[in-house]
Structures are given as structure tokens and as C-alpha cells.
């Protein structure tokens, strides 16, 4: 499953990030590396973007970007 499938309030761990998208490097540098725990805090009013907590800070990203991140629930 990808991060975009995770429901608000659930926690998950990163497995991998799509390699073809340039956003990958950015995500990695912002601390989204394999094994990192992510807490999906909430969805915005229209269901997109989503807000996550990662490495102790809040980050918002669009569903599209979230769909590039493979995760498993933890």
C-alpha cells in the first residue's frame, strides 16, 4: 500500500519511494527514509493534501506525492 491509502490516525513505516520522480530526493532529505515511522495526522477539508508527522515535525504533502511512497502499517 502507499501512504495515500493510510487513514488519518494510523501509523505506518516507509518501505520505499518511487524512483522516477524528482521529489524522491527531497523526501529523503526531509527525513523520509526507509524504515522511518510516519503518523498520518489528518486530511485537509477536501481530502487533499494530507498532514503527517515525521521525525517530530508536521509536513503536508499532496495525495499524489503520498502515492509515491510505499508503506506498511505498523
Amino acid at each position: 500500500m502507499t501512504l495515500s491509502d493510510v487513514k488519518p490516525g494510523e501509523k505506518c513505516k516507509i518501505l520505499c519511494i518511487d524512483k522516477t520522480n524528482i521529489i524522491r530526493k527531497r523526501l529523503i532529505d526531509m527525513g523520509l527514509t526507509t524504515g522511518t515511522e510516519i503518523y498520518v495526522r489528518k486530511y485537509a477539508p477536501f481530502g487533499d493534501p494530507i498532514e503527517i508527522t515525521v521525525r517530530g515535525y508536521e509536513l503536508s504533502l499532496r495525495k499524489f506525492e503520498a502515492s509515491l511512497i510505499q508503506v506498511c502499517l505498523s
Partner: protein
């Protein structure tokens, strides 16, 4: 000798706050990532030494994406900085230190200023800076930039010290380190070998820039990387970053007493539970905007304004006029000062109270941390219109002034998104346009003054957003760009910051009135008093202005204001939008009126305008091309004459069309008698219909999800 000190760090870590504290400057500070978009240089004195301090836009890593990030990276990688002062946000230490490690690795001398230590302490936490310094191999000084704590010690230390030792600390685990070292040996590059080896692991040959390697070496290196990825079980471009984060986790565990930061986050969490709640978010957002305008233009604003106007008109202008009469100056000099300068500038200045209130409210918004949330809430909606949530921040700043708003678009990563945002940002009504509305609503909409002004602001927002819909296919196409944005913690706006921001903006307004507007008033007075033969005329319609005005006035007849004086005032609005009011005041003799205590300019205006044409005029003022300063900024930021001209032509065309519609439809609806409520109702219906259409229109974008896991990466099958 240290000469240039660069301030570098993550966005929103307090670099500019520290810069201001060190240099005594007044650069802009706000609680969202991406406030600073330019390099700024200031100087600090320590004893008898002077050092240059350079404030930079914030970056998350040395790999950069948007324009302002590139500015920072280029400076950091140049030879100029002798020392990098790395500002680390102590409340968000894990991610901040990632960039720190990259800086240390780049080989420049680094000193860490551990900022916001007050926030950590007030939540009962603590950070062992001595241990942290030891673990990272660079000096660490705890500071609180906004509370001005620890800054002298920091400055003393960095200027007196000999260059701090360049780090010899290793961040990597054993097998990664040995791989790095063997790659170093194979590459054998003299200058910063470690950096090259790491770049090679992450990006392969393309990052080696100018260092040729033979086929054979390349094969050998690839083997090493292969072996490494196998043993770590991660892709090559993730290994290094992941190792850094692992090292950081270790440092944080040892140095930070954690339990407490908890408290702080819960406050932000609690606020967010309401403010970005799925159901409440939009009503709250609209409420915030509504409150902002009703405070500024409602009874509170007009109460203050009444007193202020009295001061300007009845005390200052009348006083000066009497003084001039008493010393018997000649007629033309009296006319120049009273009709020209005082009439023009005075009428603009009398709107200062409302503008000040608006500026204060904007500052509260910017300091609190709501800006990033507003972007988060509106992103989905704005995307339907070809914009992004990030476009929203420049739009809000545009309520203050269009120039910084255009600069703020630099944070948009996608060049096309950025261009579109720049075209529509001037539709957000800036402070300089406010005097125009205030003047006209006072004359024609006394009952509903604040409601009408509010409707003009809303009209600007609506036109901006609809423009996105129209322009997106020409400007942006169907590109998908990201919306990676950090949501900072809420902070209680400090009085100092609020005062400073509001005052800076007010000062800008006053200075503009005192310089540009005075000059413009003199020129306007001259142009309306003399004819082409430089003879003073008694009837201003024969003046130079009169002739120009009569030439262009017909264009505005369908909009309801075909009088030459009005046409000319719009021309002068290009110098500065306040000048519209200044010109009208001069042409309709406001200075004289105020000085003699007679009825003011509103009486003169009601001869020329009806409420409907007044509304149409305000609409036109709102939408037509921005002032020359904004024009120049747009030209510079777009870096294209073509797009700049397209933008201003589009804006002026839109202004004409919308004013035309307002005047003609308004005229048809109720011949002559129109209420502001109806306009607002019609607009509301329009908004609803259009947003419904936009919302339900199926999106044609393809989602290029990573189709199968195997194509994505090899660790997926562990699922």
C-alpha cells in the same frame, strides 16, 4: 580573519530574527517557511572589528529545488563565506541537524547557533550543548534570537576565535564508512575527497563534474556501490541520507531531554484540531478574512479615522493655509502648496488609520503560523484553478503590498505555477488602493461602507482565482507540481514583532506619501494648471492634463466615468495607486475646500459619479495594471518582457470588462437605484456556480503511480 559570516539553516529556524539581532536591521520575519527569498547583507560590530553577516533563504538540504533555495546554495558553495553560522531550530532538532551534517561535510568552518532555546526551556526540556558540540565536532552556542539571549556571547565567540576546527567526526556506520573510504582511494581526487566519494555513491558519475574516470575504474566503482547497497539493503541515493539520520537520532538521544517538547506540540495539535478540521477549516478561514476586514473597515476603523481626518484637514491643512495667507505668498505658490501638495498628500494620509489596522492584522496572521495552514486548507480548491496552496501566501501578502507578494512567489518550485501566480497576485487589493475605496464609499455608500469595501476585496480574490481557470491552459498546462510544506508550530505573536512589522509598513506608506506622492502632486498640479504653451490656465480642462484626459476619456464612457479628470487620475495611478485619490483631490479642489472649511471633495464627486459608476470605478482601480514599482518587480521576477506585458495587458483588459459588466448589468437591473446587497448577492451566486462547475469537472490528470512494486524498489516485496 573572519570577514563574511553566512547564516544558513532550515526554513523558519530563525535566521532572519538572528540576522536582525546581530546587525540591527529590520528584515522581514514571519512564522512560515520561505519568508526570506533573497540574500541580504548587513554588518555587525564587535569591539573594533566589523564583520559582514549574510542572511540567506532557508534550505532543507544542499540539493535544491526552488529559486530562493538556489540563491542560498550558490552563496554557501562560493568562496565568499569565511564561516557558516548554522541556525538550528532546537524544537525541531532532528531534521535541522541533517542540513548541519551536510554543511560540516562540505568542509567549510561551521558554528551552530542552537536557536529557540527559550521554547525548549519553557516546556521544561533541556539540551546538553557541550555534549552535542563534542559529538558533532563543531562549536554549539545556545541562543534565543527573538528574546535576544546568548547573542553577544555568540558574536564574541565567532569573531574572536581562530577558525574553529574543521570536523573530523565520522557520521557513518562501519561498512558504509569503509565503502566511502575505498571509493575515495579509487577516485583519488585531491580537493574534498570525502564529498566526491559521497556524491558518487548518491548520484554516480554525473556528480563528479570534470573529474574523468576510465572505463575500468568506473566498473570497479560500480561494483563497490553494488556491494554496499546489497549489504545495507537500500538504494544508493538513500544510503547516505539514511546514515546521517541514524547518526542524528543517536545525537538527539544523548543530548536532548525529550519528554517536554511534548507539551509544545500538544498546543499546536490542539489548535490544529479545530483550525484545520475537515468541517470547520473553511468556515474558520472565511471567518478570519471577514473579521480582518470588518475590524479594519467597520465602526472601529472609521471611529479612529474620523479623528485622524479632523487632524489632517482641520488642523494641519487649514493651519498651513492660514499661515501662507498671513505671509502673503503669491497666488501660484499658494495654489501649489494648498491645492497641489496638501490636497494630494493630505487626502491619502487621512486613510492611514484603516491601513494601519489592516497591516496590524496581517502581521498577526503572518506571525501566528496560520499562513501555512491557510495554504494547506486551500490547496485542493486552488488546484482546480491552476494554482497551488503555495500561491496563497503571496496572495495574502498582496493585501499589504504587491511588490513583496511578487517576490514571495519565489518559493513556488514550478516555474509555470510561479508565473501564473505572479499574473494574478496584483488582483489582491493592496494597501495603496484602499484610499480610493475609502474615498468613494464615504461619498456614495455611507450606510454600507465596510460591506462595500469588503465586496471589492472579495471581488479581487474571485477574479484572481477565476483568472487561474482561464489562464492555466495558456500558462501552466497540466503540470503536476508538489506541495511539500512544513507546517510550523503556532507561536503567540510577540508585541515586538507586531509593532515592528506594522510600523515598517506604515512607515513605508508615509515615506511614499512624503516622497513619490509629493513629487507626483507637484507634477499633477503643474500639468493641470498650465497649458501646452506653459501659460497658467484658469479652466483646468484647457491644461495639458485636460487635453490628455479628453483624449482617453471616451474609453471609460461605457464604464460610467467618462469625465477627463477621472481618466487622468487613473493614468497617474500607474505612479502609485494612492495617486488616484491625490489627483482627484487636486482636480476637484480638495485642498482649497479643506482649507476654507467648506464641503469636501465628496460633494464634488457626487456631481460626477452615481453610486453605480463609483462602484464601477472602484472595480477598475482594483483590477487594472499595478503601479510602476510592481511592474518593475514583475519584470525582474519573470525575467521576460513578453510575460510582463501579457500580464499587464491581461489585467487592464479584465479591469475594463469587469467594470463594464458591473456598470451595464447594474444599470439594467435597477435603472439608477442599486443597492450594494444585490451586487454582493450576484457575486455570491457567481462564485458558488463557478466553483461548483470547477469542483465537479472531472480531472483529466493521469496519476503516474508506481505501478508495480518491483518497478519501484526491491524492498517492497517484504510487504
Amino acid at each position: 580573519m573572519i570577514k563574511n559570516i553566512a547564516l544558513a539553516g532550515n526554513p523558519n529556524s530563525g535566521k532572519t530574527t538572528l540576522f536582525n539581532a546581530l546587525t540591527g536591521s529590520k528584515q522581514y520575519v514571519g512564522n512560515w517557511p520561505g519568508v526570506t527569498v533573497e540574500k541580504k547583507i548587513g554588518t555587525a560590530r564587535v569591539g573594533n572589528k566589523t564583520v559582514n553577516i549574510v542572511d540567506l533563504p532557508g534550505i532543507y538540504s544542499l540539493a535544491t529545488y526552488s529559486m530562493e533555495e538556489l540563491v542560498a546554495r550558490e552563496y554557501l558553495e562560493s568562496d565568499e563565506p569565511d564561516l557558516i553560522l548554522n541556525i538550528v531550530d532546537a524544537t525541531n532538532i532532528e531534521r535541522n541537524l541533517f542540513f548541519t551534517l551536510q554543511l560540516i561535510e562540505s568542509g567549510k568552518p561551521v558554528v551552530i547557533a542552537l536557536n529557540m532555546i527559550d521554547a525548549v526551556e519553557s516546556s521544561g526540556g533541556s539540551i546538553d550543548t557541550a555534549l552535542m558540540s563534542e559529538l558533532l565536532g563543531v562549536p554549539v552556542y545556545p541562543v534565543s534570537a527573538s528574546k535576544n539571549k546568548g547573542i553577544d556571547a555568540l558574536l564574541e565567540a565567532i569573531t574572536n576565535d581562530k577558525n574553529p576546527d574543521i570536523s573530523t567526526v565520522n557520521f557513518y556506520s562501519k561498512n558504509v564508512l569503509s565503502a566511502i573510504e575505498s571509493i575515495e582511494t579509487v577516485l583519488s581526487i585531491d580537493k574534498s575527497p570525502r564529498l566526491h566519494a559521497i556524491n558518487y555513491i548518491e548520484d554516480g558519475e554525473k556528480k563528479l563534474e570534470g573529474h574523468e574516470i576510465s572505463k575500468q575504474t568506473a566498473g570497479m566503482l560500480e561494483d563497490m556501490v553494488q556491494k554496499l547497497t546489497k549489504s545495507v539493503g537500500m538504494d544508493r541515493d538513500m544510503i547516505i541520507s539514511d546514515e546521517k539520520y541514524k547518526f542524528i537520532t543517536g545525537v538527539v538521544d544523548k543530548c536532548v531531554t525529550k519528554n517536554n517538547m511534548y507539551h509544545k506540540t500538544t498546543m499546536t495539535e490542539k489548535i490544529d484540531r479545530v483550525v484545520t478540521n475537515r468541517i470547520l477549516a473553511i468556515p474558520i478561514f472565511l471567518g478570519v478574512v471577514l473579521i480582518m476586514f470588518s475590524v479594519a473597515f467597520g465602526s472601529f476603523g472609521s471611529f479612529i479615522k474620523g479623528h485622524f481626518e479632523f487632524l489632517i484637514n482641520d488642523v494641519i491643512i487649514e493651519g498651513i493655509a492660514n499661515f501662507l495667507t498671513s505671509i502673503h505668498v503669491s497666488d501660484w505658490a499658494y495654489s501649489l502648496v494648498v491645492d497641489g501638495i496638501l490636497g494630494g498628500v493630505g487626502s491619502v494620509l487621512s486613510f492611514l488609520p484603516e491601513i494601519a489596522i489592516l497591516f496590524l492584522l496581517l502581521s498577526i496572521l503572518e506571525d501566528s503560523g496560520y499562513m501555512a495552514r491557510a495554504a494547506f486548507i486551500t490547496d485542493r480548491m486552488l488546484r482546480k484553478f491552476g494554482l497551488s496552496g503555495r500561491s496563497f501566501i503571496p496572495m495574502i501578502i498582496g493585501f499589504g503590498c504587491t511588490v513583496p507578494a511578487l517576490m514571495a512567489t519565489r518559493t513556488l518550485e514550478n516555474e509555470k505555477d510561479r508565473r501564473l501566480t505572479m499574473i494574478i497576485t496584483p488582483f489582491m487589493s493592496c494597501g495603496a488602493r484602499l484610499p480610493v475605496y475609502a474615498l468613494f464609499t464615504a461619498a456614495f455608500f455611507v450606510q454600507n461602507q465596510s460591506l462595500v469595501i469588503f465586496s471589492i476585496y472579495i471581488l479581487g480574490i474571485v477574479i484572481a482565482i477565476l483568472s487561474g481557470l482561464i489562464l492555466k491552459r495558456f500558462v501552466t498546462g497540466d503540470t503536476v507540481s508538489g506541495f511539500l510544506m512544513e507546517l510550523p508550530e503556532y507561536r503567540f505573536p510577540t508585541l515586538k514583532n507586531l509593532w515592528r512589522h506594522t510600523w515598517e509598513r506604515i512607515k513605508g506608506f508615509i515615506v511614499k506619501a512624503g516622497t513619490i506622492l509629493v513629487a507626483a502632486s507637484i507634477v499633477i498640479w503643474f500639468l493641470q494648471s498650465f497649458n501646452l504653451n506653459l501659460k497658467m490656465v484658469s479652466d483646468s480642462s484647457e491644461s495639458i492634463f485636460g487635453n490628455i484626459g479628453k483624449l482617453i476619456a471616451p474609453v471609460f464612457i461605457p464604464l460610467g466615468f467618462g469625465e477627463w479628470k477621472v481618466a487622468v487620475s487613473l493614468l497617474t495611478g500607474f505612479v502609485a495607486k494612492e495617486a488616484v485619490v491625490g489627483t482627484l483631490s487636486i482636480l476637484y479642489g480638495a485642498g482649497e475646500a479643506a482649507a476654507s472649511g467648506a464641503v469636501d471633495i465628496t460633494a464634488a464627486l457626487s456631481q460626477v459619479f452615481t453610486p453605480l459608476s463609483a462602484y464601477s470605478f472602484m472595480t477598475f482601480t482594483l483590477l487594472y495594471m499595478p503601479c510602476v514599482a510592481a511592474f518593475a518587480t514583475m519584470r525582474r521576477e519573470m525575467n521576460s518582457w513578453k510575460w510582463t506585458l501579457i500580464a499587464v495587458c491581461y489585467q487592464t483588459a479584465v479591469a475594463w470588462i469587469v467594470s463594464f459588466l458591473v456598470y451595464q448589468i447594474g444599470g439594467l437591473m435597477v435603472k439608477g437605484i442599486i443597492t450594494a446587497d444585490m451586487i454582493i448577492a450576484a457575486l455570491a451566486v457567481l462564485i458558488v456556480v463557478l466553483s461548483l462547475i470547477a469542483y465537479f469537472k472531472p480531472s483529466k490528470r493521469k496519476k503516474n503511480k508506481c505501478a508495480s512494486c518491483g518497478a519501484c524498489c526491491n524492498s517492497c516485496d517484504r510487504k
